[in-house]
Amino acid sequence: MSTESEILHVGIDLGTSRSAISASNGERFVVDSFVGWPADMVARKVLKRDVLIGHEAVTNRTMLDLHRPLERGLLKEGSDKDVEAVRELLKHLLRLVGVANGKVDSANVRAVVGVPAAALRTNKQYLRNSMKGIVDSLMIVSEPFAVAYGLNALLHTMIIDIGAGTTDFCVMKGRYPNEEDQRTLTIAGDSVDTQLLKLIEERYPQANVTVFMVREWKEKYSFVGEPQKRVIVTAPVKGVPTEFDITNEMKTACETLLSPTVETMLDLLSRVEPEFQERVRNNIILSGGGGLIRNLPRTLEEALKQVGGGKVTHMQDPVFVGSDGGLALALDAPDSDWEKLTA
């Protein structure tokens, strides 16, 4: 077993759209969860690389066999390429914080990885298998739990983590959350992208739009309720850059999140012991990229009025909130526990 001084603790938020890592050496990185291999010899010659990861992979996607190793927040199973993509993504994240770069040996890494609240045990086992040989010890926790832990929001708090693949809910009751305390919806950022693309294509059939463009627009301009200003975007029409007003489409697509989110939030609240419901209502934390949708916290507060009102806070910087929470868990876990959790 390695000595404490050599050990690197990391928290990883393995996301469908983006994955973040926070390490005990102070390094923090976020990458797009895409892995691509050059599609043929020509592409290999042009790219001069065997594998591309993150934004680089997205940018060069036309030359790549592009894989997104996670689907709805869970690791895809089935093909060898998907297995390889997960491992490449994890190795890349660890390389970014210095592992196997000559600074830290992978045998000295203790990692906490956040997964969707409703991830099944089989998927967690699959993740463990995927991380064999990449880290020394591994702890897998639900993503909203990692967020809550990092924020010290451990009691009478509800975390709503709106990611790309899933929207995770978790009520913290001062204990490790069980099935009753957590929910996962697959209506999340990706479903907004799909809906937005469909609406834009319906209204502007002449526009040449891809899901990648739509995702960028959503990240810049998403809102629910009343628009602050018109959403004008540029997309090519027969190769000519043309401006389009997508304000209504953006509103409609983003608002598809509202009904299931409100319904699940109220349902989970109704299951909290009556004497604590008010405290939980006033401690709702919105994290994940979806938390940045303009007006979303206020709209959720409006919905809370039907059960007595409440307060919804959103994280200003949701990118690292999950991985920071994972890191906090990794640092707090005693050596004796890590020894039991060998990957």
Binding site: E71, R72, L74, K76, E77, G78, P116, A118, A119, L120, R121, T122, N123, K124, Q125, R128, L138, M139, I140, V141, F145, Y149, N152, L154, L155, T166, G174, R175, Y176, N178, E179, E180, R183, T184, L185, T186, I187, T256, S259, P260, E263, T264, D267, L329, D332, A333, D337, K340, L341
Partner: protein
């Protein structure tokens, strides 16, 4: 919270997180998913292994102490009435006349059906399939669920529903309602939509593996709001398939499909019988009682979509489902049911 208190809570949370991970490493199911019912079911399955040798040993003991012996009973076909009056003697006698031990089938433990969970597919923001004339699956399934519920109640069954209005209930929540209701069977009602608009038919599913890519796609679509990827369930399914529940589910599916097709064929001569099939729908995986999913029609066929608009046809579907459930229940528990 005070700092000291936070630290204490954190230590406790960490201990529980580590325990949860150790359970994963050992391949144990989550603690919350280890209810007493599973233990009871396991006990019921294993009980014959213990009870039968005990009875045999007891019987041998009795025979050695001069009480009327089994050998006599078996040898004497003149006393069948006395033999069957005593269930212990009956079971022992039947065992002694059997040359080899056979696996105990589910029918060895007839299950009374008193409470039925009805699950109207989709709802709220999830409309399910839609017809070209804009009839949605969620509306039809809810109406049929309510009609079927009324029929079942009228005939002495208790009924639990997973939804009674137009709202989205996540699939895991439906399973939770079913599992928490101490119900005997679970019937999920759905309406199909297929790429061939000229075809239409009825089919009933129970839980099982499938190699049919179309069924995998259908299951993936129906499982969409569950939060699980289909692939994630594979290992879990391997364990479930071996369950005695599968045999009961198959019997229920067969009874329902038979009544669905024969009941509706009369009013819709073009209706096709797509039979009883196996597929890994989440509601069938996660429920703990015999469970089926009935696709009671096909919205992609314009003619049938028009029929599905009418209350009369929906009532006929509810009647057919009822007859199927009743036939299954009667086979298990005929004397206790009021009958139709």
């Amino acid at each position: 919270m005070r700092v000291g208190h936070i630290d204490r809570v954190k230590r406790q949370l960490l201990r529980q997180a580590v325990a949860d991970n150790l359970d994963t490493i050992r391949g144990l199911p989550p603690r919350a998913l280890r209810p007493r019912q599973r233990l009871i079911r396991l006990f019921l399955r294993r009980a014959p292994l213990v009870i039968i040798p005990l009875i045999l040993a007891g019987f041998v003991f009795i025979s050695n102490t001069g009480v009327p012996v089994a050998a006599k009973t078996v040898a004497s076909p003149l006393r069948p009435t006395a033999l069957h009056d005593n269930p212990v003697h009956a079971s022992v006698a039947s065992m002694l006349t059997t040359d080899t031990l056979e696996p105990v089938s589910a029918s060895a433990f007839p299950l009374s059906v008193h409470r039925v969970v009805l699950d109207a597919g989709h709802g709220g923001t999830d409309p399910g399939a839609s017809s070209t004339s804009n009839v949605s699956e969620k509306e039809i399934t809810l109406d049929i669920e309510q009609r079927l519920g009324a029929l079942l109640r009228k005939n002495g069954f208790d009924v639990v529903v997973t939804r009674n209005d137009d709202r989205l209930i996540p699939l895991r929540e439906r399973a939770r309602i079913a599992n928490g209701s101490a119900s005997d069977i679970f019937v999920s009602i759905h309406v199909n939509s297929i790429p061939h608009p000229n075809n239409h038919g009825v089919e009933t599913y129970y839980l099982g593996p499938t190699n049919d890519p179309k069924l995998t796609k259908l299951a993936a679509a129906e499982n969409l709001t569950s939060g699980y990827a289909l692939a994630d369930l594979r290992k879990l399914l391997d364990r479930v398939y071996a369950d005695v529940r599968r045999d009961e589910s198959q019997r229920l599916a067969t009874a329902v499909q038979l009544q669905l097709f024969s009941g509706l064929r009369g009013v819709d001569p073009g209706l096709e019988n797509w039979g009883v099939r196996r597929a890994p729908f989440i509601v069938l995986v996660a429920t703990e009682m015999p469970a089926i999913l009935a696709e009671v029609g096909c919205l992609s066929n314009d003619r049938e979509a028009e029929m599905l608009r009418s209350g009369t046809y929906r009532e006929q579907i509810a009647q057919a489902l009822f007859h199927g459930i009743h036939a299954y229940a009667s086979a298990n528990d005929a004397p206790q049911r009021k009958g139709t």
